[in-house]
Symmetry: C2
Subunit: 274 residues, 2 copies
């Protein structure tokens, strides 16, 4: 998928919502536990009701790895299900991998070939060697951690160099030369919305993946004020606030309404550009 195609989807759906499938077997509606493949059944239900309001799904690998074999199977089935039943979805492996050379190549093969993800989140600490092997796969994306939404993001990401440039700015400045606007996005936490102004000076056109709206306290309006560009340039993720909105047998309808509610807010915010 190209950036332009992603923007087409955003215009069509009037939404830049990414639903985070952080599926925890202990948090899903209890009646699903009777099913053979409860994780997948939950995901399938969530996807079917949220797809009209959503342009992307993000699957956090930790939640699937912790479930062992069952988890990996559910991961594979979920990606396949989205791919087959909801065309044009942008699917993110939230894996935060960060290795080099041969090893990075293997991760790329795993997530882009074995699983048919569109993109993977990566940590920049080891530099360009981490990223390069992923660019050998056409129409696939890396999403590099830049400025994260957690409290201890400040431990290192705000360290200033001799010229006052903060580490997250160095990461963005250097890495934007490795790829291009059709294969590189950045993670910027919604809790850092005002920093988006500085970030847009360095990368006016790149897409950003924004976690932290909702449960972590970030504001959608602020994110758009400082981060939206003419092609939207934003994927805003919401996980728990949507997928665990209800735990009864009627959860699916309520989850769908929750996604619809966010889509309507996004539709209004998109009026500035479409």
């Amino acid at each position: 998928m190209t950036a332009r195609q992603l923007f087409e989807q955003i215009k069509y759906k009037r939404s830049f919502l990414c639903v985070g499938l952080d599926t925890d077997i202990n948090k899903i509606p209890p009646h699903l536990h009777e099913k053979d493949d409860a994780i997948f059944e939950f995901n399938k239900a969530i996807v079917d009701v949220t797809a009209p309001y959503t342009v992307a799904y993000k699957l956090n690998l930790a939640f699937y790895e912790v479930a062992g074999d069952n988890g990996w199977r559910a991961l594979a089935k979920t990606v396949e299900y989205i791919r087959k039943n909801h065309l044009g979805m942008f699917i993110i492996a939230d894996a935060k991998r960060g290795d080099i050379g041969n090893t990075s190549g293997m991760y790329a093969k795993t997530f882009f070939e074995s699983f048919d993800f569109d993109s993977i989140t990566l940590s920049p600490y080891m530099g360009e060697d981490t990223v390069k092997p992923f660019f050998e796969f056409e129409n696939k994306w890396i999403i590099l951690l830049a400025l994260t939404s957690n409290p201890s993001a400040a431990d290192f990401q705000f360290i200033e160099d001799k010229n006052g440039k903060r580490l997250f700015e160095s990461v963005i400045e250097k890495s934007k030369q490795w790829g291009n606007e059709d294969n590189t996005m950045y993670v910027v936490g919604a809790t850092q919305a005002e920093m988006l102004r500085d970030i847009r000076k360095i990368i006016p056109n790149h897409f950003l993946l924004i976690p932290g709206v909702g449960e972590q306290g970030g504001s959608l309006a602020k994110v758009c004020k400082y981060g939206m560009n003419r092609q939207c340039g934003l994927l805003v993720n919401s996980s728990r606030a949507i997928i665990y909105a209800n735990k009864t047998t009627r959860f699916a309808g309520i989850v769908g309404e929750k996604a619809w509610e966010i889509q309507r807010q996004m539709e209004i915010l998109l009026q500035a550009i479409i």
Copy 2:
């Protein structure tokens, strides 16, 4: 395992070798392909012949993930096999994970409980939130990326702050306060051996995991000169140079000899402290 227990193993084996089980199905001896579980069979053979010369095994997750279900099963079986048959081994999940809170907690559960690894490699980019959940597991270790052996390590790890402190030094200085010498190690590439002098000023006593000796060109003697402390303080990893030393049906013997050769060098270098 405590740092003291690890040092006991090092004295007993007169070795601080860590064998990297970067098992690539395309690189193992062809005759093993006939076996049902070729990856595990290869690992088992390697472990049995190298164990007398080795105090640790490092399993690079990328190599197992790329093999799908089979890979995960082989990973589980290998850890179990080492645990049961070679007491006192320190087993490392080279996963380079780096997430936060709940998600970090899930990774900890996966690698320390579901698999019985002693330790996991982590990326420091997101700060303390990445590390904290792992410390809730007793006798388990995190191994934080500090200064890596790859060429593009310099992209960010050498960025100097206003006081001339390089990023890898900030990472070590700050993170050494999160844990202690019994639950925290650092990755320092052997290709950066002279930097070990600076690193030992900040953490004189911590264990370091050193990749990059052998195929990547790092020197064992230099690593010891600048990095060894009174409790050794080093685990030196070798992967390809050992495990792919031979690809015939007689590979095991030759792999064993290769590990023995390195152990003999280590024995001489250890004379300075034991």
